[in-house]
């Protein structure tokens, strides 16, 4: 008999992640791709890659889950059993792999969050509000301005003797500080180190404000791949910061674990990767609230819709 496996997909604003895990929480297949503004196509690509790595003869996918900002859309597209927010998924994923963790720092493309853990369960969390200062998107745009690839940021930052002072409070201020430093001939690596410090400082001053950061600390999300930011965190916190080499897959892993937890054998077929999906946004005209209703079609047939605040807007 084939062994059970679980699929988890994390569709973020910048990247799409997919994993298949066994019942013992081992990674059977994994994939990381850019979303490129098209979550449905990105999911199809991820599924194709996962299919190539997946041992079809030994395992069978019995349940699937989605998380990330496009979780609902992709959830109805692949028929996922579990559709959960990324905070829960990250907490579950990290505490499964690192049962002793106390604090999870996470900086993604558009958001950042902190999760406090006690006895292997999340007890408090905070997420950035209103503004995306100090996230991956900010680093990417500044890398573009400086003409370096964002992947090299960490390495360059580590070479700097000191970090240029850059305001951490707000992206707009940080950017004007940066331009100013450039125009007075400040070395690039110091500016990049300053940016990394600004991201860490912004995070600790905004998202982590008022939260107790206890060791062991795990840092994840795309920005955790930046060694410069990791070092700035270690300096600011005065404690080691652990970066899991699979930290970027933690959301997908967590949602796969959750899919496994709910004990339902629903099955999953890779066929969805070849089907045609389409969404349509309609404005409900039944009252002045004008709800935006999202309709999802598979092969031209409506499979799901949401966005209506009352039953008058239900689409079927």
């Amino acid at each position: 008999m084939k062994k059970k496996a679980y699929l988890g997909i994390d569709i973020g604003s910048i990247s799409t992640k997919g994993v298949i895990i066994s019942e013992e929480n081992e990674f059977l297949a994994e994939c990381y791709l850019w979303t490129e503004g098209n979550p449905m196509q990105a999911t199809k690509n991820v599924l194709c890659r996962l299919k190539e790595q997946f041992d079809d003869a030994g395992y069978r996918i019995v349940a699937s889950g989605t998380t990330g900002s496009a979780r609902k859309l992709v959830g109805s597209m692949i028929g996922a059993q579990v559709v959960k927010n990324e905070i829960t998924a990250h907490a579950v994923g990290t505490t499964t792999l690192h049962p002793d963790v106390r604090t999870i720092l996470e900086i993604g493309g558009q958001d950042s969050k902190i999760i406090c853990v006690e006895n292997g369960v999340a007890v408090d969390y905070a997420m950035n509000t209103l503004c995306a200062a100090g996230t991956g998107a900010f680093l990417s745009s500044q890398a573009h301005r400086l003409g370096v690839a964002v992947e090299e940021f960490g390495e360059i930052a580590l070479r700097a003797k000191k970090a240029a002072p850059i305001a951490a409070r707000c992206t707009v201020f940080a950017e004007s500080d940066l331009v100013h430093k450039l125009q007075v001939g400040c070395p690039k690596e110091e500016i990049i180190a300053g940016l990394c410090k600004a991201v860490a400082g912004n995070y600790l001053n905004n998202v982590a404000k008022g939260k107790k950061i206890a060791a062991p600390v795990v840092f994840q999300g795309g920005v955790s791949k930046n060694a410069g930011v990791v070092r700035m965190f270690e300096e600011e916190l005065g404690m080691p910061v652990l970066v899991d080499e699979r930290g970027h897959l933690m959301g997908a892993f967590g949602i796969a674990v959750l899919a496994g937890e709910q004990q339902e054998d629903a099955g999953f077929s890779f066929d969805v990767a070849d089907m045609e999906f389409r969404t349509r946004e309609i404005i409900c005209g039944k009252c002045a609230n004008h709800c935006e209703i999202i309709c999802v079609y598979r092969e031209s047939r409506l499979i799901d819709s949401w966005g209506n605040r009352c039953d008058n807007g239900a689409v079927s």
């Binding site: 900002s69 959960k84 927010n85 990324e86 905070i87 829960t88 907490a91 579950v92 006690e118 006895n119 292997g120 369960v121 999340a122 007890v123 408090d124 969390y125 905070a126 997420m127 509000t129 209103l130 008022g210 107790k212 009252c287 002045a288 609230n289 004008h290 605040r309």
Partner: protein
């Protein structure tokens, strides 16, 4: 040509939660004037309000300005705006100017001007609004209206605390809506009383599957945004749908008729020595109460830039640390999308629920 079949003056007040029904009762049954009751607020209300508001004004200003403009379009002749203990006290004056500049012809009564005045002034105002005023009738009407507000607060609290656990989905909502409709149309004390008793009975008859230790969440925060469900994007309803028992201390009854600020202040002595603003004492007191009762979490609600409630945040952080209770902080402007809120609430609820399972 307009045909007037009654010559009562048409009075309007900005929408706030379900209190419009009680105000309508006081205006129509007590004062003897006509009340312009608006339909529930929509996106357009906030758009309208934002369009003519200074950008830095807080969300309640925008929502209430939107309401007032909609009331004018619905035929209101007299607009009434309240005063308060924060920036709200200046809002009436500003809204009066904005409405005048938009070219509307109406009388604007700013209650902020009467707040520190004598009783005689209030009576004069009542006489002005309704020349044939009968003082005895007005007193009775006002009393019954206040009583109606108290009933609505009581029923609302029962609803949010229990609706998550009904066995038949939607039965609480159905009874609650029927009750609100009764309050909306009530014309005398018997009708109010009957509606109240009816909904109590209906609630008692609803089948419940309440877990032994349900997830309990306390909602605290700024006066308008916390009470007006359109402003807080149906926060409490969303929590109920996730499966939580939702408690909220702050309502008109508790704020104005029962718990006075000076009596509450000694209870939060460990965290604050003095009064910090309009509802800060209520916020901190309620949060402390929830923490002591062993609630699972607290949600703090405020409009973006609300200074008094911002001052309450460090105190809430201390309570959170001392009693080990997580607090979720929400700041509202006139948002378009619910997505961000949904994510945060779902994560908060999931966290509390998982925690409960593991830590027994």
């Amino acid at each position: 040509m307009e045909i007037r079949i009654d010559n009562r003056r048409k009075i309007a007040f900005p929408r706030i939660s379900h209190y419009g029904y009680a105000i309508k009762y006081i205006v129509e049954q007590g004062l003897g004037a006509e009340y312009v009751l608006l339909p529930p607020a929509t996106k357009k209300t906030a758009e309208l309000g934002s369009k003519y508001s200074p950008d830095y004004a807080c969300a309640p200003f925008k929502h209430s300005l939107g309401s007032l403009i909609e009331a004018l379009e619905a035929g209101a002749e007299v607009l009434v705006e309240t005063g308060g203990l924060c920036r709200l006290d200046y809002y009436g004056a500003l809204q009066k100017e904005i409405i005048r500049e938009l070219g509307y012809k109406c009388e604007f009564i700013n209650l902020a001007e009467y707040m520190s005045g004598k009783k005689k002034e209030w009576l004069k105002l009542a006489r002005h609004l309704s020349p044939k005023l009968k003082p005895a009738r007005f007193t009775t009407g006002a009393y019954e209206g206040v009583k109606m507000a108290e009933y609505m607060d009581e029923i609302e609290a029962v609803y949010y605390q229990n609706a998550a656990f009904e066995t038949e989905k939607g039965s609480y909502r159905k009874a609650y809506r029927k009750f609100l409709l009764k309050m909306q149309t009530a014309e005398d004390w018997q009708e109010i009383r009957a509606g109240y008793q009816e909904v109590k009975q209906a609630f008692d008859g609803i089948g419940m599957r309440k877990p032994e230790r349900p997830v309990r969440i306390g909602v605290v925060g700024e006066y308008f945004t916390i009470m007006d469900e359109h402003s807080n994007q149906f926060l409490q309803e969303k929590l109920v749908r996730l499966g939580a028992s939702v408690h909220r201390f702050l309502n008109v009854t508790n704020c104005h008729f029962r718990a006075k600020e000076p009596t509450l202040r000694p209870r939060i002595k460990a965290y604050a020595d003095y009064n910090m603003g309009p509802t800060t004492t209520w916020t901190v007191n309620a949060a402390l109460d929830y923490a002591k009762q062993g609630f699972d979490g607290i949600i703090h609600v405020k409009s973006f830039g609300c200074t008094p409630e911002m001052d309450a945040i460090p105190l809430l952080q201390n309570i959170s640390r001392d009693y080990r209770i997580p607090v979720l902080y929400l700041s509202y402007d006139t948002q378009e999308s619910d997505t961000g809120l949904d994510t945060r609430l779902e994560a908060f609820y999931d966290m509390l629920e998982r925690k409960k399972k593991v830590m027994r």
